[in-house]
Symmetry: C2
Subunit: 400 residues, 2 copies
């Protein structure tokens, strides 16, 4: 087990109906909230109005910024940050999926500093991110997820896309850890099957990335990771078959939070190469992050992990998919099949071609992954430093 | 899954040699520390001097209070609290096992309020605990465990013994959550086999209590619990066989912390009847807490859990001890045997008679458990409200 520092400061308020406590929770941190949300779904489902009413009842005024797009964009963040400043907002509420919550964190940063968010984005070489990260100052943030996926509700990171430069990359820092996260599983009843599936793939990916790339002598972490994976696999199927199944939604939501809160990876310190590759795809093609991850996984497993650490793929298969094969290489094969079958079962299996990626873009996107995710090096950091050629190979393998 | 609120504010600094960071960590919270520790072992091993030197280097003065006894006593806490006040200490460092860390939390409370700690102790009917708990004000606390056992390093509770009234019971509150916990597994190399074993039993008990008594639809929590139990079982054996095995000590220490940090029981809300029973024994006979827990477990499993929830005992056995029996009652039987065998293997198996308990005291101790732990009711709270007669039955069954 590697040395680590771990801080999980976000207060978790979890359960049925807890969204009605929004006001009493938010009022601990401010008197005027900017509610950051997407264009329509939180309005349509009524949750936005519930939050506004709860805040009002607790004496918290609110301004709504409802123009966060999927893969939230730098210019949108900047605009909302200035609205927060003009309106003297002193707390930011991120209401929605990972996009709304990530945007809320970025907006909380811009609202304090007045700097454009692209200055902070890791990998943007015209920016000041080397000085500005980790972010120490931001308005207090409260998250209210309406989708079980990104784990953004209780971690200290966010991913923002600069569409002009086609850069999608991260910001992080202690100031981005939400003060509180209100996790009400009932808010996720209305999530359609495809987003439920993509969300499950996202949490599954958060879990396997560290598991495959990190220190291999962190058994507590590995067993927690495997347990969370089993829950993601099992409850995604249930939630898709029965969208109003409270236990399924509750388990998915809590799994998504725990997958990224820190306990799975602390002491293992794995890297996130599949995320880095996917960010390039969604920066260029604006697809669902979880779907992009599902597309890349089989080839990454086959071309990288099965070569480097087949025993880890085998262990995952045995412990998450009940594979009973003793030989590691054969078990690793069976694991890849099992993961693909799970993707197919929940409707997350896909190809780059099918989501609209042009074949002639693959080489460029591999290079872009290194340019943005390589942080100045000619490979992605990690136990297996992926090169542009390898990324190109992975993309090719899952093209159609 | 039940609704829950969860806050894990303690900063964790984990790893080899991290004790040398004591100064830079403690100086974030104060300039004059009371170091709370036991009579001899931290002096003998040199860790006390290391901590003092590290604090000094970071500009933190320290006063040492080195008279914490096992099952820390109310009068000792009061005395140390007054020493902290007289010396204008502004931060408390708990260095040692659960006793030193629990005492540190209680001392941090007394140092602020000046009230005797017995006023705060739950179940003391002459005290003001109903008004005073949860504790909102205390000096900042930093814990440095030298034993993997109680999980006190990163939770918001403490157990204190009033020897005059033979009451051993808890205090709790957000102010008792340590600001930081420095978890250096190398500090536990010198823990002798019997305390290593008792510590493993303590963490195992923290895990099974909620697992057996809490909500049964919290599968994420159950799987995390099972994973942590597997680690406790496996690494206790390794650490006892090879006391300087870093990975074994690291896994035991991190398991002990995670067992009580909140994630295992949040959403399940189990109760702690075996702890309540054991507290009576160690209040009267001053035995090791973990040893008392090991003594009680087999009869509690047999007389309570195998009747109420045999399927849970069976599940634990299948998932922690690889029991491959389909019938729940038979699997539950096999689980009890497996737990007892593990206790025997690590040297934790014992009887009340063997640790010096008088047979004629059993009825009195059963009544005392209800008086102190029943909080005014004639049974212990929980899904199975244990009566004095049942507790007497359990004690009798494990007498010899």
């Amino acid at each position: 087990m590697l040395n680590f520092a771990l801080h999980m400061p976000t207060k978790i308020i979890f359960g049925k109906g807890e969204v009605l406590k929004s006001g009493e929770i938010v009022c601990e941190y401010g008197k005027k909230a900017l509610i950051v949300t997407g264009r329509s779904s939180t309005k349509k489902t009524g949750v936005l109005d519930k939050v506004i009413a709860s805040l009002k009842q607790a004496g918290v005024d609110s301004v709504v910024f409802n123009r966060i797009e999927p893969n939230p964009r730098a210019e949108t963040v900047d605009e909302a940050g200035h609205i927060a400043r003009e309106n003297h907002c002193d707390v930011i509420v991120g209401l929605g999926g990972g996009s709304a919550m990530d945007a809320a964190k970025a907006i909380a940063t811009v609202a304090v500093s007045g700097l454009p968010i692209h200055e902070y984005i890791r990998g943007n070489f015209t920016g000041k991110w080397r000085e500005l990260l980790p972010i120490q100052k931001a308005l207090p943030i409260v998250t209210i997820p309406t989708l079980a996926a990104t784990g953004s509700e209780a971690d200290g990171g966010a991913v923002i896309t600069n569409l002009k430069t086609k850069e999608k990359s991260g910001i992080n820092g202690p100031a981005l850890s939400p003060k509180a996260a209100i996790l009400d599983p009932e808010l996720t009843y209305t999530v359609p099957a495809n987003y439920t599936a993509d969300g499950a793939v996202d949490m599954f990916t958060h879990l396997y990335e560290g598991y495959f790339t990190g220190d291999e002598h962190a058994n507590v972490q590995d067993e927690i990771t495997e347990g969370l994976m089993r829950n993601a696999v099992r409850f995604a199927k249930l939630a898709i078959n029965k969208p109003n199944d409270y236990e399924a939604r509750a388990h998915l939501l809590w799994t998504s939070t725990l997958a990224l809160i820190g306990i799975a990876n602390a002491g293992r310190e794995g890297s996130y190469p599949v995320h880095a590759m996917e960010h390039t795809i969604s920066a260029h093609y604006d697809i669902s992050h979880g779907r992009g991850l599902a597309i890349l996984a089989p080839a990454y497993f086959r071309l990288v992990i099965q070569t480097d650490r087949p025993h880890r793929l085998a262990r995952l298969g045995r412990r998450v998919f009940d594979i009973a094969i003793e030989d590691d290489m054969q078990a690793a094969d069976a694991t890849i099949v099992a993961v693909v079958n799970w993707f197919k079962e929940i409707g997350a299996y896909d190809t780059l071609k099918n989501v609209g990626v042009k074949k002639e873009d693959l080489k460029m996107m591999a290079d872009e992954t290194i340019r943005v995710g390589g942080l100045g090096k000619n490979s992605l950091a990690g136990t297996h430093p992926l090169t542009s050629d390898e990324i190109f190979g992975i993309c090719n393998a899952v093209y159609e």
